[in-house]
């Protein structure tokens, strides 16, 4: 096995590769880590000199940016269209694709590991998780969903193979997602978890759902290939009809983990 935790993008990315360590896999891991740093350099809104910062200030054009910037902005546009504007690449009026960059970067890092033969691995980018293959032969990955109201506690456990699990919430950073429709911080949901096949998309949907609030329940339930789970500030929770496929526990009397 190879495990690695990398501090980048203001958070920590954890790699958990369930294969015998080989020089090829270690090289792929180093490549994935390098990729994350490159994403940070290009997309960070905290770096005044990043392409995205300069693009946002109108100092450069999209044509002056690496191709990935256009790819991410296209994804942002698709997420915005799918969410009735609840996802936006310009929260607060400034170019900031952070609502999906992290998930997108993890998705790509995971693909790099798979391409090197690491079919079974998990990459966790600050709480957004891409699971490849399974945890062990015959055993699916088990992802704890952090309880936003109970630090250190879990609200549910998502079990499955080849999954993306993204959570957006107010747990650590407070109400930081704005509802683009009102311009006010989103506060109807304490956290939303989206399970899908692709982490860039799951990340975008989770961000949008947090901004959308209670209406997200119906919206997410209507999206193909998506399951979702939310914790309310009251401690209540809801989930979409597909979610118990990944988390049988929530269908029981109590969905809290003992």
């Amino acid at each position: 096995m190879i495990r690695h935790a990398e501090h980048v993008m203001g958070t920590v990315f954890s790699f958990d590769v369930r294969h015998q360590s080989t020089s090829a896999l270690r090289a792929a891991l180093a490549g994935a880590v390098g990729w994350l740093h490159r994403v940070d350099e290009v997309f960070s809104t905290y770096r005044p000199g990043s392409h995205v910062s300069r693009l946002g200030r109108g100092e450069i054009d999209l044509a002056d940016c690496p191709a990935e910037v256009g790819e991410v902005l296209d994804l942002c546009a698709a997420a915005s269209a799918a969410s009735g504007g609840c996802f936006t690449a310009t929260p607060g009026g400034r170019l900031d694709p952070s609502g999906l960059v992290k998930g997108w970067a993890v998705e790509r890092a995971s693909a790099m590991l798979r391409a090197a033969g690491a079919t079974c691995h998990a990459v966790n980018g600050g709480g957004d998780v891409r699971l490849s293959g399974e945890a062990a032969p015959g055993r699916p990955w088990r992802t704890g969903i952090a309880d936003p109201l109970r630090p250190g506690g879990l609200a549910a456990v998502v079990s499955g193979r080849d999954l993306a699990v993204a959570t957006s919430g107010v747990a650590e950073r407070g109400a930081h997602v704005l509802d683009p429709r009102s311009g006010r911080p989103a506060s109807e949901l304490a956290s939303v978890t989206v399970v899908a096949a692709d982490l860039a998309w799951a990340d975008a949907l989770a961000t949008a759902a947090l901004a959308m609030g209670d209406q997200a329940r119906e919206w997410l339930a209507g999206l193909p290939g998506v399951a979702a789970f939310a914790v309310l500030p009251s401690g209540g929770r809801w989930w979409t009809p597909d979610f118990p496929r990944y988390a049988p526990e929530v269908a029981g009397r109590s969905c809290a983990i003992p």
Partner: protein, 186 residues
């Protein structure tokens, strides 16, 4: 084939404490788990070249019996210090037990951990000795130890591999359940 490994991460300023634990080894007369102290990585998690286990490798995949210690820092000489404070040793399935690990000297001072068991399952973890040479240490320990308890219990009961949650900061990661899982190498 559940791995009976419990790893505990306590973040006390600059202190990483790892506890390797095998419930089936601990009977009323069994050896207590050893508490082991990690190299001083608390302030430099993830830093390249750090002495911690941010990049641990384990070539021993698939052997559940032998790999409990994999990736865990070497045990100190297990000499004495066996504070097995026996609880009720009635029926095996129900017996409540308290097992105290060896006290280990670290560069920050002695560390000792105690585990409560019931029916072979962990029901509680706490640190009985933590460095508290100065007021700041004590303040930090007051916070770090309860966090450690809650996270350890949650991870143990849920058998999880990773954690999804609202984005944590680099600092927030250090005391997080994901951090404990990364270090446990489970």
């Amino acid at each position: 084939m559940r791995r009976a490994v419990l790893a505990v991460l306590a973040t006390v300023v600059g202190l990483v404490l790892l506890l390797s634990f095998k419930p089936h080894d601990v009977g009323p007369a069994g050896a207590p788990p050893a508490a082991v102290a990690g190299g001083g990585t608390g302030g430099t998690l993830g830093a390249p070249g750090g002495r911690g286990r941010d990049h641990a490798e384990d070539g021993d995949r698939g052997d559940d019996e032998d790999d409990d210690d994999d990736g865990v820092l070497p045990r100190p000489g297990a000499t004495g210090g066996t504070g097995t404070a026996g609880g009720d040793t009635g029926t095996a399935g129900k017996a409540g037990q308290v097992v105290t690990g060896d006290a280990v000297d670290t560069r920050w001072g002695p560390v000792q951990v105690r585990i409560s068991l019931s029916g072979g399952k962990i029901t509680g973890v706490d640190a009985v000795v933590v460095p508290d040479a100065n007021r700041r240490d004590r303040e930090i320990n007051r916070v770090a130890v309860p966090i450690l308890d809650a996270e350890t219990l949650a991870a143990q009961s849920a058998q999880i591999d990773t954690v999804s949650g609202a984005t944590y900061t680099s600092e927030g990661y250090i005391g997080s359940l994901q951090s404990a899982l990364d270090r446990a190498g489970r």
